[in-house]
């Protein structure tokens, strides 16, 4: 599903965020990207979503080399990936419902079916009753779940999450972790960058240290 072949990412003026990373995440797998702050966890996820470009090596998603992907094809790659961002990136000027609707509007999903899908996604993360609320009215845990609903509403085959349980209390973090497990169980490939490895005991770990992958 995802294959890193000696991938490196260097930010100017010479900061190596990732060096010589080779690894593979297979389909339907759940894997964690762990490591200290600044180890390169976020960079690794950003490379997969095409937000950053590798400085060296090859990165293949579903057999497709991202380096060879034209810029105009990038949106279509992103539509196949659900992404939960570290800072969530919710839109605060629209309702919970409309936030989750956005990915469907982007792909031009038929309106009536889209509404059903949005409700299903909100139901899945336990926000079915809050669809009319504005994001600012939600608690931190609810906002995180809203971000997850938006990431999965397109039913992507790959779900990426960057620190999805940071800043959450233990109970809420456990709830969020359970949601990821559920998606994994229905066949979604899940890759999570996190410190809280204890929440995902069964997942394989990719340990990063100063941009290098420890075997």
């Amino acid at each position: 599903m995802i294959r890193f072949e000696r991938v490196s990412k260097r930010y100017p003026p010479g900061l190596d965020a990732l060096s010589d990373v080779s690894c593979e995440v297979t389909e339907h797998e759940m894997a964690l990207v762990c490591g200290h702050s600044g180890a390169g966890k976020s960079t690794l996820l950003k490379l997969i979503a095409g937000i950053e470009k590798p400085s060296g090596g090859a990165l293949l998603i579903g057999g497709q080399n991202l380096a060879a992907l034209p810029r105009s094809a990038l949106p279509f790659l992103r539509r196949r990936i659900g992404m939960v961002f570290q800072d969530q990136k919710l839109l605060f000027d629209r309702s919970v419902f409309d936030n989750v609707m956005l990915p469907l509007a982007i792909v031009g999903f038929p309106r009536r079916d889209a509404a059903q899908r949005v409700r299903a996604a909100l139901d899945k993360v336990g926000l079915a009753s809050r669809e009319k609320a504005m994001p600012v009215m939600l608690s931190g845990g609810e906002q995180q779940r809203l971000a997850i609903a938006r990431a999965v509403v397109n039913r992507p085959s790959l779900l990426l999450a960057d620190e999805p349980t940071a800043h959450l209390d233990a109970q809420t973090a456990a709830d969020v972790a359970r949601i990821f497990h559920e998606f994994h169980h229905v066949g979604v490939t899940v890759l999570i960058a996190t410190y809280a490895t204890e929440l995902f005991p069964a997942a394989r770990r990719l340990q990063l240290d100063h941009g290098r992958l420890l075997s």
Binding site: A49, P75, P103, I106, V107, G108, P110
Partner: protein, 299 residues
Amino acid sequence: MRVWLSQHQDAARLAVRRLAAAPVNSLLSLLAIGIALALPAGGQMLLANALHLSGATSAVPQISIFMAANAERQAASEIGERLGRYAGVRQVLFVPREETLARMKSGPGLREVIEALPANPFPDAFVVSVADESLAAMERLAVEFRQWPRIEHVQLDSAWVRRLDALLKLGRTSVMLLAALLGMGLIAISFSLIRMQVLTHRAEIEVSRLLGATNGFIQRPFLYFGILLGLGGGVVAWLLVTAAALWLRAPLAELARLYDLTLALQTLGARDSALLLGFAAGLGWLGAMISMRQHMQQY
């Protein structure tokens, strides 16, 4: 196709919502665009009216020849014969002084004045149509006729029509120039308003892009916003021009009556109105397009 249509519909709806979200801003912007467009549109309206007026006036060029006031009828008939024989003269109409007097007396207000005069103040006159109606040829003829005996005054009747034509041509060029200048102004207004919109909706643009939106999807509502701005401004301009025309109609008709003209100021015609709205919407779109090109790269 249905997806495409519904996405356009959504984008247009979003653009309307954004316009409505800041009503005072939007209204003032529309007013600014409307006033800018009202100038060339109003110019075009006046021009169309002037064209109509000049079209109604006979533009057949003629030469009027007036005998000296004390010339005898004999001298007049000699001139008449000479004109009739003259090469280049197509038709000669003799207007005896008695006829002119009678016509003038029947006019309002002049009767008392004329009756107070001791003698008929009008001379015998000829109205001459010529074969070659070019200004140069007619002026040559006029110069020639002036040297004939007992002729007091020769006048080119077409002169004022030609002057009006030249004036109208100038007017048309001015309207075009004004339209071009203020059209560029409209593009600039649209450009900067869309730039502000882009800044306001930065987060949305960024998130949409991360979720797999194409450039087309992101730009669409902004382009519709530009079109709506232009179109709304065009409607404002149309209303301004129409209101001004209706308001000016009565006093202008009054003035025209004093000059013995019947003039009902016409508002912008269907073609000009459609042109105005299309032009405005197109320029709004263009400004938005340039703005998006400029600002999209940042996100």
